[in-house]
């Protein structure tokens, strides 16, 4: 009995008082297709009396129409939310379900078992305290089971229930149950779970779900699934960890109040406690913990609070306030495990936005060290990560952030990666450790700097970045522009295929991953030359917006001029100066931009020239006119 109907009817006040003490448990159910996940959750909702009469009527009608259980009620239909998947008969996304008993409120993430939907499972598991892994008693431990268990372990869940389902279909056989438990124990060894509880159930018949079904499985001593979920201890370690809070928002209603708002990631705090900001090393003490219901004497992990500090220190959104005696890591390079969530593969060298809590920083995967095979738990080599693949990567951030290793702190060791052009959430990351290199490289203070070098050349350095299809006229134009700059007395350098592809980048081919790396090296080289005081011209197809944006980002504002040489594909193909289009059309050349590889047109280039125009000299002169202000020394 989930709700004390009697108490509700007799003494609602006593009931409400008792309800206020309830705790909350978030769990995830995972299993292969047809293991009965939706049926299990449907059953939990059903038996905790959270299915209402009108929903029941709809359920009965739906069961007859599209159900898979013949005349019986198909509990899974309670959960399948979206029409498309209802028709396909599979759950295609994460759905959150709620039920409560007198002891706890439960949030269940229902996630698909389909192979290609790993990302949904990781999403559902990221907020879960406990995982219920379903195994079909007739099938035993499958590859899918291993995959799900690995993912559950990866996202830091330490307590799992292995629910061996469909016991009714194996005659409630104890040996079958024990054999599967033994098989599971063998694969779980490397996963680092604190606690594995094996429960034989039948979701369809309701056996051992809410209470033990002695008649069918007298050999099983308990607990029933719900007993376990109501009593399992969770979250007890989070409050004893060191204090961590990322600033979400600075509250300044007037000049006399400066409050720092955030959710405590771990630990606790009281007025008077010392705190430090790792990014600046500045220290202060907590003055007040302010709430609408009065100041607090103590605040704990999980609470969303507003703090004021005793001193005026420089803190803003994204910064972390931490315990000065137990500081987090602070680095701009670290190793992390990344789960890839997007159809477009991860490309090492491409710039993504890394969001850790409230802090957002541009970041690159500097190398993909290995891919993890989640079925064998073995490492494999690879150059990219496709959707649903997991890799161990080194990351380089544009600036350092405060963090803890994910295994030590789930709330300060996590991040997401965002594609800078589609804005999609493309990756989920868990930090392993900072790379020693990060803290070991100290920038040498150079006496002769960029300004000094540029002044000697009597110019302002910048980059003219030509982009366009093969045969669009980039190199011709860049050459003409360089000649004109030279005749104006400017010190220039032209980077193009001839001097880069044959030397610096001769180890790179034309796959997407190599193209990204190619452009990254060119951008870094251009940056060094700008630092040397030169005006740099680059003439590469540079087909992807992300890399052009990366080049723009690593230079200063006004130092990057993107020139789109806009020539129609048919014109380029007609010109075909190197005979490459012909080869590509004949299938002899793979990944050729414009033919079987995309060119992403610039969104806001500084300059666009019509490359179909035959008078190249005139076009070059137009470019010179447009960069006139970069050429003058004044502002």
């Amino acid at each position: 009995m989930a709700h004390q109907s009697e108490l509700i009817a007799k003494d609602i006040h006593a009931y409400l008082k008792a309800q206020q003490e309830k705790s909350m448990l978030r769990f995830i159910t995972c299993g292969s297709v047809d293991d009965g996940k939706s049926t299990l959750i449907g059953r939990l909702l059903w038996d905790s009396k959270l299915v209402f009469e009108d929903q029941l009527a709809a359920l009965e009608a739906d069961s007859k129409r599209v159900g898979t259980q013949g005349e019986e009620i198909d509990y899974a239909l309670l959960l399948d939310g979206l029409q498309a998947e209802r028709e396909q008969g599979i759950t295609i996304d994460v759905a959150y379900r709620f039920f409560s008993t007198d002891k706890r409120k439960f949030i269940v993430a229902d996630t698909p078992g389909h192979e290609q939907y790993t990302r949904n499972m990781v999403t559902g598991a990221s907020t879960a305290d406990v995982a219920v892994i379903l195994i079909d008693a007739r099938k035993g431990v499958l590859t899918q089971t291993k995959r799900h268990s690995y993912l559950v372990s990866l996202v830091g869940i330490r307590k799992v229930v292995v629910a061996i389902n469909k016991m009714d279909l194996v005659g409630y056989d104890q040996n079958c149950f024990e054999q599967i438990a033994q098989d599971y124990q063998a694969i779980a060894g490397v996963l680092g779970f604190e606690e594995i509880t094996y429960i034989p159930i039948s979701a369809l018949k309701g056996d051992n779900i809410i209470s033990l079904t002695a008649s069918n499985m007298s050999w099983y001593a308990g607990p029933a699934l719900l007993d376990y979920l109501e009593t399992v201890q969770i979250g007890d370690t989070r409050s004893v960890q060191p204090f961590r809070m990322r600033i979400q928002w600075v509250n300044r209603p007037n000049l006399d109040f400066r409050g720092f708002c955030g959710t405590i990631a771990s630990g606790q705090c009281r007025p008077g406690d010392p705190v430090v900001v790792p990014s600046s090393g500045q220290q202060s003490r907590i003055a007040r913990i302010v709430t609408m219901d009065g100041d607090l004497e103590l605040a704990c992990a999980g609470q969303s609070i507003t703090l004021t500090l005793e001193d005026e220190i420089d803190v803003s959104r994204g910064d972390m306030l931490t315990d000065p005696n137990r500081c987090p890591g602070f680095a701009n390079q670290f190793q992390a495990k990344i789960v890839w969530l997007n159809e477009n593969a991860l490309l090492p060298g491409r710039s993504y936005l890394l969001k850790a809590g409230s802090s957002v920083t541009p970041a690159q995967i500097s190398s993909l060290k290995q891919r993890i095979n989640v079925c064998t738990f073995q490492d494999e080599s690879g150059k990219t990560l496709s959707m649903n693949e997991i890799g161990v990567c080194n990351l380089a951030l544009d600036r350092a952030i405060a963090f803890d290793p994910y295994v030590e702190n789930r709330h300060t060791g996590n991040f997401i990666l965002i594609d800078r052009f589609t804005n999609a959430t493309v990756g989920a990351g868990m930090i392993d450790f900072a790379l020693r290199r990060a803290s070991n490289i100290h920038w040498q203070v150079l006496e002769v700097d960029k300004i000094a070098r540029a002044e000697m050349k009597n110019q302002k350095p910048f980059v003219l970045w030509f982009t366009g299809l093969s045969g669009s006229g980039k190199s011709t134009l860049a050459n003409l522009v360089e000649q004109k700059l030279h005749s104006l007395g400017k010190h220039t350098y032209l980077l193009d295929g001839d001097n880069v592809r044959h030397g610096l980048n001769r180890d790179l081919g034309f796959t997407d991953a190599d193209r990204v790396e190619n452009v990254r090296r060119i951008a870094e080289t251009a940056k060094l030359f700008v630092d040397a005081g030169l005006i740099v011209l680059t003439a590469f197809i540079s087909p992807f917006r992300s890399e052009r944006a990366m080049a723009r980002d690593i230079l200063e504002e006004a130092e990057f001029v993107e020139i789109f040489v806009d020539t129609p594909l048919e014109v380029c193909e007609r010109r075909d100066p190197k005979g490459l289009y012909k080869k590509a059309r004949a299938g002899e050349l793979k990944n050729f931009t414009g033919i079987d590889s995309d060119y992403e047109v610039p969104e806001r280039p500084e300059i666009v020239v019509n490359g179909a125009n035959a008078d190249a000299d005139n076009l070059a002169e137009q470019i010179i006119q447009k960069v006139k202000k970069n050429l003058s020394l004044g502002n």
Binding site: F52, D54, G81
Partner: protein, 297 residues
């Protein structure tokens, strides 16, 4: 922390994240109990500052009179900026739930009205009080739910949402709907209102009110636009509302519960789900999902 404390902390986190990340957020205020809780949480999240966004009410012109009174009182007492938008084109065409059916009426006066208002003020984020337990298609909705330039929701390309890290990146013209109450249930809402003594529209409490029985529902006679059909007559009954919307589309339940504990008691012992009092869901199977794709909240 108790479950209500955890829910409160999560909602406050979401409210602050939206305000920190977006340039021009707004809170959709429907005047119902969920909106009341959301408003209360917003006051807590930004205290001692005032919540740094306006409230917006899309007025279909068919709301209960007591709702409008309550709305104006709350805005006054809490010091919120209140924006009110009505689809004037719909009013000119005389769109009414009685003559045009609930589907067309909802589309024109609610969905279209909402889109007009969002376009007019160029909001890039809008808070809504929807909960995942309300309806099946809501269970899969993200907390930061992305909308295209035309306000469409694409259930197949939702952004994965991990931990409590929310992706707030949108291009110009695109927006998100943010749902701070995603993980609350109807029971949580009532318990929180009780615990925090949050004011709600008096229509939630039982009182003797004039109603007619129509299509199996008890419709309150809130003004003279409700024309009686042959065979119908106005009866005085002790009724209350479990959910509030446009009065011609919202069914009352017979009840004597005139205080919060009794309302909660009745809710726990009853066997009909909350949205049943609303005509809008019964139009066709999967109707909420369709409406959401088109831009309904």
């Amino acid at each position: 922390m108790t479950h209500l404390e955890q829910l409160e902390a999560e909602s406050i986190h979401i409210l602050r994240e939206v305000v920190a990340e977006f340039e021009n957020p707004v809170m959709l205020y429907s005047i119902g109990k969920d909106s009341s809780v959301m408003l209360h949480l917003a006051r807590k999240a930004f205290y001692p500052a005032k919540p740094p966004f306006p409230l917006m009410h899309v007025d279909t012109t068919w709301k209960f009179r007591e709702m409008i009174e309550f709305r104006d009182r709350m805005a006054r007492e809490c010091g919120f900026d209140l924006l009110i938008h009505t689809n004037e084109e719909g009013v000119r065409q005389g769109i009414s739930p009685f003559t045009h059916g609930s589907a067309l009426y909802t589309d024109v006066m609610k969905t279209e009205g909402l889109k007009q208002a969002l376009d007019k003020y160029k909001f890039d984020a809008a808070f809504g009080g929807a909960r995942r337990d309300e309806e099946k298609s809501r269970a899969k909705e993200r907390i930061f739910s992305f909308r295209s330039e035309t306000h469409r929701w694409d259930p197949k390309s939702q952004r994965p949402e991990l931990w409590n890290i929310y992706n707030a990146k949108v291009k110009k013209g695109e927006s998100i709907r943010a749902f701070p109450l995603s993980n609350w249930t109807e029971l949580d809402i009532w318990q929180y209102i009780y615990l925090e003594q949050i004011p709600i529209v008096p229509l939630y409490y039982s009182k003797v009110r004039p109603v007619v029985e129509r299509d199996g529902m008890l419709i309150m006679v809130d003004d003279d636009r409700l024309k009686l059909l042959p065979g119908e007559d106005v009866q005085m009954k002790s009724v209350r509302f479990r959910t509030l919307g446009c009065y011609p589309l919202t069914g009352a339940v017979e009840s004597t519960a005139d205080n919060l504990p009794e309302i909660i008691q009745e809710m726990l012992l009853t066997r009909t789900s909350e949205r049943q009092g609303r005509l809008i869901d019964h139009d066709q199977a999967g109707s909420m999902e369709k409406k959401k794709q088109e831009g309904y909240f």
